[in-house]
């Protein structure tokens, strides 16, 4: 939007440049909220997108001459809505002038009046999140649609983040929007009885986005701060709107991971493991916020999986060193987590804590029990953990073959280089 060149007459160049800069900032800060409201008012994603751009175009034409309106957001919503209704009226007149002359009249009469109360605008953003994460939309399309429509990422950015060709992402988004329209997925926050199940699917999408940003599954950059930042922003928005313990838990979990972002890699992009990170550089502010949220989430009568994972992350974050970490507390938290959410990956993480508290021999025993089930066959971290336990036990031949298998399964540059260094450092 900021690229639309408008040079109004009768306005000092500096002033109109300032207003254009304000419009740019407004676009970055508010365009997705305005978009969410326009979807409710216009009932259609495509029309809302078009109306959003028309509204900012109108602002670029009018504001440099007339100055900023008192409430720019509601000005933009109204402008977008009127432009869209006007356009539809013209289209319908063109299509059906002879046989359906009254359609355009009824359309304006039925268009809901725009209510600019702040809480309604916030509800619109929540409506948009719930619509994009509706379980009737395919899971990978939920993620793409959320990033596109709620976060405003371009299709190419989403494609780059997920290492998926842009046309594939575009097709997922088009198909998902088609389903919203054709199957009539309502633009609403679910009712109280449906809310718990629906919140789960929203949290899952947000955490997927965060993880993709935190540990990109392949490619040569270990961190994709933008995606994680978007996920945290979504987490904060959700918590404002749904103050549930698991929403607190997820936000806490993301903040606690994020606090370590700067220390997870060397300047060359090589991975640094948790026990070797410079803890003095962990972001105290994020840790404090995350730990406070974790405590609040854990005080709820029903503690969920995000809150427990946040609790584990908080124990790490608040320990002065790996050696001084309360590993038995971490193992206890893993046990609780496994009880509510049995998973081989969680059980694998538990073995790493067991190795710290009780030594690699017992950890290897537990891990081999898990590997025997076959579920973790193609999971690189299982082989990397096995390699590490064997290395510490001096079982070098086994360590070597486990590192080799882990490297085969690892596409991501830094993680792969880390494993290759460990493999090379093994005594012959």
């Amino acid at each position: 939007m900021g690229t639309v060149p408008i040079y109004p007459r009768g306005m000092p160049a500096a002033d109109s440049a300032r207003i254009r800069a304000e419009i740019d900032a407004l676009y970055r800060r508010e365009s997705r909220r305005i978009f969410a409201t326009l979807i409710r008012l216009l009932g259609d994603f495509e029309r809302a997108e078009e109306a959003l751009h028309e509204a900012f175009r109108a602002a670029m034409e009018k504001w440099p001459g007339e100055g900023l309106p008192q409430n720019p957001v509601s000005w933009l919503v109204s402008a977008g809505r009127f432009k869209s209704i006007d356009k539809q009226r013209r289209d319908q007149r063109f299509d059906h002038l002879e046989d359906r002359p009254d359609v355009s009249e009824s359309l304006t009469d039925n268009a809901p009046a725009f209510d600019e109360r702040e809480e309604l605008l916030e509800d619109d953003r929540l409506r948009l999140v719930f619509t994009c994460c509706h379980p009737a939309i395919a899971p990978d399309a939920q993620v793409a649609l959320t990033l596109r429509e709620v976060c405003g990422l371009a299709t190419e950015e989403i494609a780059a983040a997920f290492l998926t060709p842009a046309p594939t992402i575009a097709q997922r988004i088009v198909r998902a929007k088609g389903k919203i329209r054709d199957a009539n997925i309502p633009y609403q926050v679910p009712s109280r009885e449906q809310l718990p199940a629906r919140v789960d699917s929203v949290l899952r999408v947000v955490y997927l986005v965060f993880n993709e940003g935190y540990s990109a599954s392949s490619g040569d950059s270990a961190t994709r701060a933008d995606l994680s930042g978007e996920a945290i922003r979504l987490g904060r928005l959700l918590l404002e709107l749904i103050p549930e313990p698991e929403v607190q838990g997820l936000l806490a979990l993301m903040l606690l991971h994020e606090s370590r972002r700067e220390t997870r890699a060397t300047a060359d992009g090589d991975l640094i493991l948790l026990d070797e990170q410079d803890r003095s550089r962990w972001n105290r502010k994020l840790i404090e916020e995350g730990a406070t949220l974790t405590r609040a989430a854990l005080s709820s009568p029903r503690v969920g999986p995000y809150s427990l994972q946040a609790a584990i992350a908080a124990v790490h974050a608040e320990s002065p060193s790996a050696a001084e970490t309360d590993w038995s507390e971490i193992i206890g938290l893993y046990d609780l987590l496994l009880r509510i959410m049995p998973s081989h990956i969680i059980a694998l993480n538990r073995t790493v804590a067991v190795a710290q508290l009780q030594g690699p021999e017992l950890a290897l025993e537990h891990l081999d029990g898990l590997l025997a089930d076959g579920v973790l066959d193609d999971y690189q971290l299982a082989h990397a953990a096995r390699a590490d336990f064997c290395r510490r036990l001096g079982r070098n031949a086994e360590a070597r073959s486990a590192y080799t298998r882990a490297i085969e399964l690892t596409a991501q540059g830094p993680a792969r280089r880390f494993l290759e260094r460990r493999l090379a450092a093994l005594p012959a």
Binding site: P135, A136, A138, A141, R175, A183, N184, P186, Q194
Partner: protein
């Protein structure tokens, strides 16, 4: 005796039969008292599958019946939106044992040749 005639089409033939022809066919049967109801459907990618297991409703994208599951019946329902339709579908007794595919219908439109195109899987 009542019969249910199910219409199957591959994506490349999704728009082959014009709406006008389908309207004429229905009208012809209606005049003879042989048409009880019918409607074209939106393509399969607009479908949602509803299952109920242990009292929990599960909702997934797509028409994914288990391969052993056979078409066993149908309900034509009026619902406010997809959420409403999912709630109704979850109360259909076989939802506890099999799956209910919820597919939106569309209107036949006189003079229109192209409906929304079906997309291959």
């Amino acid at each position: 005796m009542k019969y249910l005639c199910l219409v199957y089409l591959s994506p490349e033939h999704w728009n082959s039969a014009p709406d006008d022809a389908c309207l004429a066919c229905g009208e012809n049967l209606r005049q003879k008292g042989q048409m009880l109801g019918g409607s074209p459907l939106h393509p399969a990618h607009t479908a949602t599958t509803v299952r109920v297991r242990n009292g929990q409703v599960s909702v997934t994208d797509g028409p994914f019946a288990e391969t052993k599951e056979q078409l066993a019946g149908f309900y034509m329902i009026e619902a406010r939106d997809l959420n409403d339709a999912i709630q109704i579908a979850a109360k259909i007794p076989p939802a506890q044992f099999g799956s209910i595919e919820v597919r939106p219908t569309r209107e036949l439109v006189p003079g229109v040749l192209q409906a929304a195109a079906a997309v291959g899987p």
